[in-house]
């Protein structure tokens, strides 16, 4: 029973990370009809941003370990979001703005070029060898009487219940990083949803993505909306980069490519252009991958990449709009 719960936890976390990156994809495609293949690199830049901020010994405010960890985490999240957003806006300004309206294929190739360029710059600036992420969160154990009673840890498997008051999230994992990852993920996901669905800027972005001409006619200037979309997408990818390296530990310049492609698949399955679709697609993908590895015998589990892509092809053929997507007007 707890093996299933652990794997579900793993799948959920992986899914949320794919989802965060996928949200960036979906928003950008919705607003600019642009398959942003460099999005995976914003994930990488965010991870390195967090790495540098986590290694700085400055954040020794407060006394206890808990306070230090808290501040390090907050600063890391902010730095990773900022670096992801900055690079994303830069790429939009330098690479995409002019070409976007001129030709779709050329825009796509520019995106691939930008992705390779960012990886190469990563190699030179951050040094090519993989680097370990400092173990920022010493294991944090907060147990609430109600829940721990219900969850009897099975014999032999040391497990820890981390429960935060605001969010009744259950993260069964031996170390605190999973718990912290889960909390930050939850806030990031909630933040993304709130921004897009509840705020005016979010409304403007959705308007532009549905029909740029009519949005323009009601006074929404599309260019700032697009820049904000890139910034938000980049920030979310940056945070996902930080959480990925916090949980899986390794940071290297090529780390962005595979998660980027997976998140791309998630965005399409979920329905390009819709934030909730991207999150649902990400979760679906994360769970599918983790559970297929957990329960399929050794040799077959290698095929999970093929299964993921088969899922993508099936969706494209039967339901190109994805689960929650909707028809797109002609390119702006």
């Amino acid at each position: 029973m707890s093996y299933l719960l652990t794997q579900l936890g793993n799948g959920l976390m992986l899914g949320c990370m794919y989802g965060l990156i996928a949200v960036g994809f979906s928003l950008v495609y919705g607003v600019a009809r642009l398959m942003n293949f460099a999005h995976g690199e914003f994930f990488m830049v965010g991870a390195y941003g967090a790495l540098f901020s986590a290694e700085l010994p400055l954040w020794r405010w407060g006394n206890g370990a808990g306070a230090t960890m808290f501040w390090t985490l907050v600063i890391s999240v902010l730095v990773s979001a900022a670096s992801g957003a900055l690079v994303s806006v830069l790429v939009e300004r330098l690479a995409y703005r002019r070409i976007r309206r001129v030709s779709r294929t050329a825009t796509f190739l520019v995106a691939v070029g930008a992705s390779i360029l960012l990886q190469q710059i990563g190699f030179k600036v951050f040094s090519a060898s993989p680097r370990g992420f400092p173990d920022v969160c010493t294991p944090v154990v907060v147990a609430a009487p109600t829940l721990s009673g219900w969850l009897q840890p099975s014999a032999g498997l040391p497990c820890e219940v981390a429960v935060t008051s605001q969010l009744q999230a259950v993260a069964l994992s031996p170390s605190g990083t999973s718990a912290v990852t889960f909390v930050v993920l939850a806030f990031a996901v909630w933040g993304a949803l709130f921004f897009v669905l509840r705020t005016d800027t979010g409304l403007a972005i959705r308007a532009v993505s549905i029909d740029e001409k009519s949005a323009r006619s009601v006074g929404i200037r599309p260019q700032p909306a697009i820049v904000i979309t890139f910034a938000v997408g980049g920030a979310l990818a940056g945070i996902a980069g930080f959480l990925w390296s916090l949980r899986y530990g390794g940071v290297q310049p090529l780390m962005g490519f595979i998660p980027g492609v997976k998140a791309f698949v998630a965005a399409v399955i979920g329905g390009v252009g819709s934030v909730t679709g991207a999150l649902v697609g990400g979760l679906l993908l994360g769970l599918l991958e983790t559970l297929s590895f957990a329960y399929l015998p050794g040799e077959v589990s290698g095929y999970r990449d093929a299964v993921t892509l088969l899922l993508l092809l099936v969706f494209l053929l039967i339901r190109p709009l994805g689960l929650l997507g909707r028809q797109f007007g002609e390119a702006a």
Binding site: R33, M35, A95, R98, I99, V102, S103, R104, T105, A106, F108, L109, V110, V112, G113, A114, I116, L117, Q120, I121, K124, V261, V268, G302, Y303, D305, A306, L309, L310, L312, L313, L316, L317, P320
Partner: protein, 311 residues
């Protein structure tokens, strides 16, 4: 000087294989108007079919058997790739633009993922291709390499000419009309189902042929050779070449010259610090340059921007 000739001939063969592959993509993207990201899948089919049939060769087999197997492997490779191409004609009718790109990308990545996970095909580590052709080693290296180079350049020239003629023929004109504006073309009586079938067959076939030649000449095939970036680079050559066969050959030459130039420290002119920096930053410089080229001429280096021709 002999060593240098060896270097040139080897690169000439790889260049010719690249041109044949690009010619296939010219037919798929330039004529049929398919925004393809999966053409490297057709090349992979060609390469692995050729590798599979090549290893049927018994150790001491006679040259006639080797020649027969060679022809069989090319036919199988091209046939397999064409089958793959026809597979895609179905979705190509219903899907448009970006979604067709995604479907072709998914097709190629599924193929590579399957190869990566089947041990029989060597998994991620790849397969060694039994050498049906006499191995270019020892004293006979140069003459053998020379014949390979000649043969591959001839095939590349043949492929480019065939695609050029197809483009000029009435079928080619109809294809380009359908690509430019499908409704207008269909209202003029052009039926796109049969045209699509023919162009997919030729496009995928050429990619498969490139795969066969690559397998036999390089002696090793692995999923790494048919990755997403290789496919995108060839599409880049076609776009820079203005979706024409001749233009694509120019684009392949220009980018290859830049790549080699940077790798060989600007042909030996910049030894020392600057040369090393050039080599280190080769990929970054190349990527930056290609983005600039695309931004400057999105419809091809030689076609003015206002002559918009875009699937």
């Amino acid at each position: 000087m002999a060593l240098l000739a060896d270097y040139i001939l080897t690169h000439l063969v790889y260049l010719s294989i690249l041109v044949i592959f690009a010619a296939g993509v010219v037919v798929l993207y330039g004529l049929a108007g398919v925004f393809t990201l999966g053409h490297q899948g057709f090349m992979a089919i060609g390469a692995y079919f050729a590798a599979g049939i090549a290893c049927l060769m018994p150790a001491g087999g006679s040259p006639i058997l080797a020649a027969a197997l060679l022809v069989a492997s090319v036919i199988a490779g091209v046939g397999g790739a064409v089958a793959g191409g026809l597979l895609l004609t179905g979705p190509s009718v219903r899907l448009r633009g970006d979604y067709m790109a995604l479907a072709t990308l998914a097709f190629a990545e599924i193929l590579v993922a399957l190869i990566r996970n089947t041990e029989a095909l060597g998994g991620m580590r790849g397969l060694d291709v039994a050498s049906l052709l006499p191995r270019a080693s020892g004293s006979a290296r140069l003459p053998i390499l020379g014949t390979y180079a000649l043969a591959s350049v001839a095939m590349a020239a043949g492929a480019v000419l065939a695609v050029q003629r197809l483009g000029r023929s009435r079928l080619g004109i109809a294809l380009r009309a359908l690509r430019d504006d499908e409704l207008a073309a269909r209202s003029m009586g052009l039926e796109n189902r049969r045209a699509r079938l023919i162009s997919f067959t030729m496009g995928a076939g050429l990619c498969g042929l490139a795969g066969c030649l690559y397998a036999h000449f390089s002696g090793h095939v692995s999923p790494r050779d048919f990755g997403f970036v290789q496919g995108a680079m060839v599409l880049l050559y076609v776009v820079l070449g203005g979706s024409t066969a001749v233009g694509t050959v120019c684009a392949v030459a220009v980018v290859y010259f830049l790549d080699e130039g940077l790798k060989l420290r600007c042909f030996g002119l910049l030894t020392g610090g600057l040369g090393d920096a050039l080599v280190n930053w080769k990929d970054a410089i190349l990527a930056g340059l290609l983005i600039a080229l695309l931004a400057w001429r999105p419809y091809g280096l030689l076609t003015a921007n206002r002559l918009r021709s875009e699937p």
